[in-house]
Symmetry: C2
Subunit: 332 residues, 2 copies
């Protein structure tokens, strides 16, 4: 195992200690639990936004807690859901009377625990609404969107709902814009190598050197096609062939594009990827607005990338462009 860690079982908490040591002016933890992270600047009267999920995906999930994005986050062990009790603690810490919106990815454990936390919070008089990220077109066919996994596109939900919440609007409005983003974003990924859960000590699966798996999930969930690693342009074309007709994205649309590195893939390659996406969308008459290229949702040392498209309107563009300041994402 090639990892700069101490013991596998201490990695998550030591990572969190590092985060609190590095960003004490931005984040703190509640209930004496490192895994219950909240913004150091929860604003009175603002709708709180919380997320959560397994560790091993930085900047997901906790990296987006801060000004203009999220207010709180629970993390579990690597690829494990945090508990409902932890989510309840974060919910209580970030609610200031305007209610709390949960935005998280569509995974069984997370859904169960967030549902339970919402119920417990309700019993304590806190209004909670939920919107799920479920935009990986490779994970279930069109018509069965409710079964899809949430992946990198959740960044857009955080960014846009967070920007609207910062304008001090009501919970219903923040929920509504998060739903709009969820409905307008689609993602597909490709993996060139696996990652290793520290406590397992070896990769959960193998992808041979000159192979790839298109449509693989960020925990190594099986993709739609394994095959020889081909040229980047052909991979992009194949991914866009699944993404574009799904919404569908059409001539005249404006979209933000997110090219997300899964962990081990150099930024050079992400830009080679983006180049082809830009070329291809231009040919289709789809205009790119404010692209993002970098690591937004990773699988530790997995090599690969995903492409997300978000269809925009004037209001979404305005919210996408507004400033944000979190430990892992800054926008002026």
């Amino acid at each position: 195992m090639r990892k700069l860690i101490n013991a596998p079982e201490s990695m998550v908490d030591e990572m969190l200690q590092g985060i609190y040591a590095a960003h004490p002016d931005q984040v703190r933890y509640v209930s004496g639990d490192l895994r219950c992270l909240v913004s150091a600047h929860v604003k009175k009267g603002k709708v709180g936004i919380a997320t959560g999920g397994g560790s091993g995906h930085l900047p997901l999930f906790l990296g987006y807690v801060g000004e203009g994005m999220l207010d709180g986050c629970c993390v579990g062990g690597v690829f494990q859901s945090p508990s409902a009790m932890q989510m309840l603690e974060v919910t209580k810490a970030i609610d200031s009377g305007a209610g709390v919106l949960y935005i998280y990815g569509n995974y069984g454990g997370d859904v169960m625990n967030f549902d339970m936390a919402a119920e417990m919070a309700g019993a304590e008089g806190i209004r909670v609404e939920q919107v799920l990220g479920a935009e990986d077109v490779a994970s279930a066919p069109k018509g069965n969107e409710g079964k899809r996994r949430g992946v990198a596109g959740i960044f857009y939900m955080y960014k846009i709902a967070g920007a609207l919440a910062a304008e001090m609007v009501a919970l219903e409005q923040v929920k509504s814009v998060a739903q709009t983003v969820a409905a307008n974003v689609r993602t597909m990924g490709v993996a060139l190598s696996a990652c290793t859960i520290p406590e397992a000590g070896k990769p959960t699966f193998e992808i041979e050197e000159e192979k790839m798996e298109i449509g693989m999930g960020i925990h190594g969930e099986p993709g739609v096609r394994k095959g020889p690693l081909v040229a980047a342009d052909r991979i992009v074309d194949e991914m866009l062939e699944s993404i574009l007709p799904d919404l569908p994205y059409q001539r005249g649309d404006e979209v933000s594009v997110l090219i997300n590195g899964l962990g081990a893939t150099p930024k050079e390659e992400l830009y080679v990827f983006f180049r082809r996406v830009a070329e291809s969308l231009s040919k289709s008459g789809i205009h790119i607005y404010h692209p993002y290229i970098g690591e937004f949702a990773t699988s530790m040392e997995m090599a690969g990338a995903s492409i997300s498209l978000l269809k925009l309107d004037a209001e979404l563009k305005r919210l996408l462009d507004s400033p944000a300041n979190t430990p892992f994402f800054v926008q002026r």
Copy 2:
């Protein structure tokens, strides 16, 4: 080779096409040469700052061209110096009468080409000054600092000299602050795996699965010690034992810490690293101010990390904290 590229020989230019397609409002190229990148907002009367070096190190070098940092950059092929003529073109494009400062890493090819460009620029009536980054303590012993390689610590030179230049001071002052930073920063790295130059098609060397190389350079230059991969805390301790006495950093000092991922190392591990650095410096009575954790100078898919320390005073802190906005680095 596990890379999302088309042909090895087209990777650099396609990456650059991706960068210009993604950031047209921030960067453009001059002389019809994709590899001669300049800021879209060169300011009249401001000292220009240029850098350059081989490709394969994003965000180095071109990623820092933008508001509050650099004005221009030349890149070569992967791990290859750009030419003196290219540097001259960038120099001419960014000079607006106040002169140009070159800040770059101490590598033979770069030194030769930047020297030649400075001479040619001088002949055209442009004042050019140079400051080299040469802060890798593993690359040459104390007393022989002039032989040291420049690595991730150059980020601090860009940030601080760029912030001062934005205040419209004279070339001598920008050069002087860059020299102060160069004199006060020290770095050491550890590699867990090699990287592959696309045109070579296979790693330039191998590090076995459970091994590491302490002190390795960002092109795979030999380090000071190979050995079994040990716990992260022990690696940090060994690196700090080389870094701290070198300046030396002493009780009462204030330092910024940069934990830099070399490419394939997950952010989780960088924070485990930072945790130990913070713990250790705290014990030594050294105060951490404004740490940076992420990828700042990479070697494509190399696994590993480096630690840089910059000793600060009030003026350096002020300049470190000032805003910046570039395609790869944003600070509010």
